[in-house]
Structures are given as C-alpha cells and as structure tokens.
C-alpha cells in the first residue's frame, strides 16, 4: 500500500503548480519592463528621431521583449503579432513602409490612427528597417520618415502599456483556473499546461525559425532570413529567448532543475563558439556547423525541460501557434 500512497501524492501536488510564481516572478515583471522600455524608446524618438539616437533604446526594448515575446495566450494571443511581425516571408514590411513614405500617408503621423495600420509597418521589425536598412535609414530630422519613426515608437509604447495592463487582468484569469465562473481554464492544471506550452513553443520557434530559417539547407543557406540580422541580434535573441524559457520553467517548477540548468549552460557554451552573432557566415561550412550545433542544443534543452519539468508535473504540451505549416 505504501507505493500506492506515494503514487497518489505524486499526482496530487502539481495541479496548479507554479502558475502564481511564473506570473509574479517572470511574466508580469516582464511585461512591465517591456512597457517601460518602449516608453523610453518613444521618449527618445520624440526628442531625436535619428537612427543614432534611437538605436540603443530600440535594442533595450527588444531585449525586454525577448523575456515575454513568445507567449501567445491572453492579451498576447493577438497582441504579440503587432509588436513583432516576423518572419516576413513575403517582404511586407519594406513594401508597406515604402508605400507609406512615398505617399506621405497621414496615418503615419498619428499614433492613434496608426494602431489600425498593417502590422507589417508597426512594432520592432518596422523600426529595425528604419534604423538599420540603408534603403530607409538616411532620413533627415524633420522629414516624413522622421515623423513616421516617432509615430511607430509612440504606437509601440501604447502597445507595451496595453499589454502590461491586459496581463494584469489576464493573470487573475489564470490564477482563478478551475473556479466557478472561469470559462477559460476549467481546472488548475489547464493554466499550468498553458504556460508550459508557451515556453516549449518558444524553444521550438527558436530552433525551427530563429536558427532553422538562416540555416536553410546545406546547399542553400539563407543568412538574410535570420531574425533582426540587420541589427546584429540573431544570436542575442536566441540566447535571451532561451534564458527566458528556462526562467519560466524554473518558476513553474518551484523545485530545482539541475538537468535543465546544465542544458542551458551547454547551449551558452555552444553559442560562445559562434563568430558572427548575425549568422551571416552560414555559407561557410564550419560556421554553419556551429549554428547547427547551437540548434541541437536548443532542442536538447526543450527535451530536458519536458523530461525534468513536464515529467515531474505530469504535463504534456497542448497545441501551440506554430502548429500548422
């Protein structure tokens, strides 16, 4: 009978495990930081719209985004896409930005109206073009493009504030999982599973897209498909996103995850061997191999979390937004 008893307690504990901790320690502070960082970016742009002036606050905002940017539930279900529209497989961002600038469209001068504009012209990746792409970044103070940059940053700050406020409300929905009146999460473990799905989805996206897209095939590597490569951020994003997934896993667990910590350390060690943080040298077989190894470490980290956290809590990931083609 002793074994049966142990069996029962093992499965009794984890029902709502870690949801309050994940929200309080990682997710809510993450959205709060992103709101502050986008506000600082907007303030900087209103003072001086030039690429040199907004480069640092833009990077700080992107850093903040990596901590919560791959979450696709609650306010982020739809809200994340207009902050970070990527990958842009059909070149929408340069086309839509180019059209706005050529037409000197009024929508680009009004942050409130701009919230209705195509997501291709909004958020972090539109700003990346304006700051780093030679086709866009030669604008002068006082030009339409300068105003457009101010509009994009102001609208992005609005999105940051809206996400932050939205998550304060959504956190209450997650915390009341299984209670009467909660129609979204019918049991506590559904909220746990939702967060668990998000962090595994993030690692999957990093392996398949952040690393898989620039790798392409051996015969046809695609360096310009790397995420935010013009800004030199591809490797940084991979690492920050992985760190964030592990931080969420730790908070969700409430117990030590030594295997996961070790897997993350191996991932960082593999990253240290990469010369070009933009992955622009993946046409060189040796450089390519190092990026492939990094990709394997991201997948290994995901497998480790599944075993160490998912296994312990009896959790399996649900469907995520990357499922499909």
């Amino acid at each position: 009978m002793r074994h049966l008893f142990l069996f029962a307690t093992l499965f009794a504990t984890p029902l709502s495990a870690g949801v309050p901790e994940a929200l309080d320690e990682v997710i809510l502070p993450g959205f709060s930081d992103f709101a502050e960082a986008t506000k600082a970016l907007s303030v900087a742009a209103q003072a001086d719209c030039t690429p040199e002036a907004i480069e640092a606050p833009w990077n700080a905002a992107f850093d903040a985004w990596t901590q919560i940017g791959d979450i696709r539930i609650g306010p982020s279900e739809t809200g994340a896409l207009s902050v970070a529209f990527w990958p842009d497989t059909r070149g929408f961002t340069p086309r839509v930005l180019g059209n706005l600038i050529e037409a000197r469209a009024e929508v680009g001068t009004d942050p409130e109206a701009f919230a209705e504009a195509s997501i291709a012209a909004r958020g972090l990746f539109a700003l990346e073009r304006m700051i780093y792409d030679a086709d866009f970044n030669a604008y002068a103070p006082g030009s339409y493009a300068c105003t457009l940059v101010r509009t994009i940053t102001a609208e992005l700050a609005g999105q940051g504030a809206a996400l932050d406020a939205g998550w304060d409300g959504f956190a209450r929905v997650m915390l009341s999982a299984g209670e009467d009146g909660n129609t979204l999460y019918l049991a506590p473990e559904e909220a746990t599973r939702a967060l668990y799905t998000q962090l595994l989805g993030s690692l999957e996206f990093t392996a398949d897209s952040r690393l898989g897209r620039p790798l392409g095939t051996f015969d046809r590597p695609r360096p310009t498909r790397a995420e935010a490569w013009r800004a030199g951020r591809p490797l940084r994003n991979v690492l920050l996103d992985a760190d964030a997934a592990v931080a969420q896993a730790r908070a969700l667990a409430g117990f030590d995850l030594p295997q996961t910590d070790a897997a993350l350390a191996r991932l960082h060690a593999a990253a240290d061997k990469i010369d070009d943080p933009s992955f622009q040298n993946v046409k060189d077989p040796a450089a390519r191999l190092r990026v492939e190894i990094l990709q394997q470490h991201v997948r290994a980290l995901s497998d480790t979390i599944e075993a160490e956290l998912g296994g312990a809590l009896g959790l399996t990931a649900g469907f995520n937004s990357q499922d499909g083609d």
Partner: protein, 418 residues
C-alpha cells in the same frame, strides 16, 4: 488479502471497456478521408474536361465553365485538410496540391506594381509562360515545352522557395482568374478568355504556352489526387498509418483537428491576413473564394469529430465516431465539443453569407473595417475555443503520452536526456 493491493491497482489502471471500439472510429475516419479524396478527384477530373474545352474553344462561356468547375472542386478538397497534420504521408504530399501563398509572377504576367524579385525569392517574377529559356539558381532550364514534369521537377518550389508555387489548385486558380487588382475593393481577378486565344487575338502574350501550362497543371492535380485516393484505399499507406496503432491513430485525428483549427486556420490564414490588411493574404485570392475555403476547412474538422461526411453526390459516409468515444468517457465534454464546433461553423457561415451577399473576404481585410474584422475574428475565436476543447479530449482519453509525427505540440514527454 494478499492480492488486494495489486488487484486494486489493476482495476485502477485497466482501460475502461469501451463499447465503441477505437478501431471502428478509425475505420470511419479513414473511410471519410477516402471518400473526400475521391470526391476531390472526380471534381478535379470535371475541371480537367472544362479546361480542355476552354483551350480548344476559348470563349466567355468556356472560361466561366472552367471557373465554375474549379470552385466545385474546392469544396470537397478543403474538407480533407483536416487529414494533414499528424499524418506525414498526407502532409508531405499536400504541398503539391494546395501550397499557398504564392508569388504568381513565377508563372505568368503580372501587373506593373507587382514586387519583382524579393529578399526571399529571386524568381518571384520569372514568368515562365513568356520565357522558354530561363536560369534558375545558376542552372539553365529549357522550358520550351511546358509539361507536368517540368512543373513538378523544376518549377515548383524553384530554388527551394516555398512561395514558388507552380502547381496545384492555386496555380490553376491564377491561370483561370488572374491577379485580383481590386485591392480591398469589390471584385476578383478578371483574366479575359482571350488570354487563351491563339493567333492575333491572343491577349497577354504566349497564349499557346498559357494553355499548355493550364493543361499540364490540371493533369498534374488529377494525378496527385489519384495518389491520395489510393493512399486511403484498403491497403493504402495513409490508412495504415492511422490504423496500425489505435491510440496513435486517435491522436492523429485530434492532432489534425487541433493543428488545423489553431496554428493554421485561426492563426496563419485568418488573423495574420487581417492584421496585415493585405488582400493577397486571403487563401483563394484570385477567385475571391476564400469564404468557402475557410468554411469547408471548418466543416472538415466537424466531419472528423462527428464521424460523418456528406459526399458531392449527396450520399453520406458515417460510422462510429470520436464523438461516441468521448461521450462514453465524459458526456459533458462531448457536448462542449459539439457546441464549440457549431459555434465555429456558425461564425464561418456568417463570413460565407456576407461574402455571398457581396461583401467579399478581401473587403473584410480593409484597414479599420470593423464589420469585416468582427466577422473574421468571430471565426478565429471559435477556432481557438474549439482547440481548447480538443486539448481536453486528448487529456480525457489519456492520449497525452503518445508521440505523434508531424506535431511538436503533442510530443513525447518521456524524451530521454541528451
């Protein structure tokens, strides 16, 4: 008493004896798939005849008949999309017939404001119909004869770019309708029948090659569908894949339903297009048939759950269903699933009705169009809600430790440490 604990344990862990056998549910599933692909094939054969008539005698009537045949062929096909995810045999094949979105300039002439080669695709404006000799990724290609082989082996996904779609429904759609140049305003593509008239009255240039292309692409579609009909036949490998292991088969059914509902249809096909406000981000963008394409995708998901499919001739394939299986485990969960599928179908039905009433799907994508946004988001919300219930069913049927090909989301949680 000595045996009591182990007996108790055995009772605890023994599978409930289902009156509905999983094997029967899977048979229904495979039968519906087979019937759906058969209907797709016969309607594609009708399209093939109509295309031959158009090429033999181009006129407004023969063009119209070919378009009508294409539209009719879409309805059964879209109901089969639910069989893709979770079954690699289908998913690996699917890109041959339904790849989207496409850089149509690969195939034929396009408007002046069409983006030329892009960052992602050097061949977005290759125009194979106008150019019998081309170079693709450093290799000279002789395209003087447009054949199914040329399309399949050389043009489709040329240079490894997915949007180089040279075959399938959407390639044919483009050849029948042409680009929709109305933006988010009313109207679909307006390709004139004279694009297929050979001799002096030819418009758009190279009408004979355009006819060759249309014929080759249609023949290819028919042979591709023949392949899938046979894959779901009595000894077909797609059927084998889902029937050989019952739990894996049931998981494949649910994976197909969930992945199509959420990541694919709600996300990639509906919400993304809405947020981009781009009329090309609609699934059937040349013909303005997107409302039907979405509706029948949703219908296919419902078909799989209810274990019934109404064929193009009006007859019904039905049998033991996932719904029966869930009812035995938890009747309330079955009721929840049915209600959510109904809600989604009502929302997709609203989009269809609005489009048929003259408010086309691309008009719904216009920036700031609140009515269109509400219609589309109604469908998106319904699809997301039903995905949550599908997840509950996976848990309820205790299928969550089954590893499934084609879905990273229902992965094996017992993966070994590496």
């Amino acid at each position: 008493m000595k045996f009591a604990p182990s007996t108790a344990l055995a009772v605890l862990i023994a599978s409930p004896a289902f009156a509905v056998e999983k094997a029967e549910v899977l048979t229904t599933y495979a039968d519906i798939a087979h019937a759906g692909y058969e209907d797709s094939l016969t309607t594609a054969q009708a399209l093939q005849s109509a295309v031959e008539a158009l090429i033999a005698d181009p006129s407004p009537d023969t063009l119209d008949a070919a378009r009508t045949a294409w539209l009719a062929a879409r309805d059964p096909y879209q109901q089969t999309e639910v069989f893709r995810f979770g079954n690699a045999i289908v998913d690996d094949w699917e890109g041959k017939v339904n790849a989207w979105p496409l850089d149509e300039g690969l195939m034929d002439y396009v408007s002046d404001d069409y983006e030329g080669p892009t960052d992602e695709n050097d061949y977005a404006a290759l125009n194979i119909i106008a150019n019998p000799q081309v170079t693709i990724a450093g290799r000279d290609v002789d395209a003087s004869k447009i054949t199914p082989e040329l399309i399949a082996d050389t043009l489709n996904e040329a240079d490894g770019v997915e949007s180089n779609v040279a075959r399938g429904y959407h390639a044919i759609e483009f050849l029948l309708w042409g680009q929709d140049l109305n933006g988010t305003g009313p109207g679909a593509g307006e390709r004139p029948y004279t694009d297929y008239v050979t001799g002096d009255d030819c418009t758009g240039g190279n009408c004979d090659r355009r006819g060759d292309y249309l014929k080759a692409a249609t023949d290819l579609l028919v042979s591709d569908l023949e392949e899938m009909v046979s894959a779901w036949g009595a000894d077909g490998d797609a059927r084998q894949t889902v029937t050989v292991d019952e739990d894996a088969g049931i998981t494949a059914m649910l994976t197909g339903m969930g992945s199509l509902s959420y990541g694919e249809q709600a996300g990639e096909r509906m919400r993304l297009g809405l947020m981009l406000n781009d009329p090309e981000e609609e699934h059937d963008c040349f013909s303005d048939n997107t409302h039907n394409s979405h509706f029948y995708d949703g219908k296919g998901i419902q078909n799989v759950y209810l274990g019934q499919y109404t064929r193009v001739d009006g007859s019904v394939v039905r049998g033991a269903s996932l719904s029966d299986l869930v009812t035995e485990a938890d009747p309330a969960l079955d009721a929840e699933m049915k209600a959510r599928l109904d809600t989604t179908m009502a929302a997709l039905g609203d989009i269809k009705a609005a489009a048929e009433g003259g408010f086309a799907y691309d008009q719904m994508l216009a920036p700031g169009d609140e009515k269109g946004e509400a219609l589309i988001m109604g469908g998106v919300d319904g699809l997301i809600d039903q995905t949550r219930t599908i997840e509950r069913i996976v848990t309820e049927l205790a299928l969550d430790d089954v590893a499934i090909e084609g879905s990273d989301s229902l992965d094996d949680p017992n993966a070994v440490f590496q």
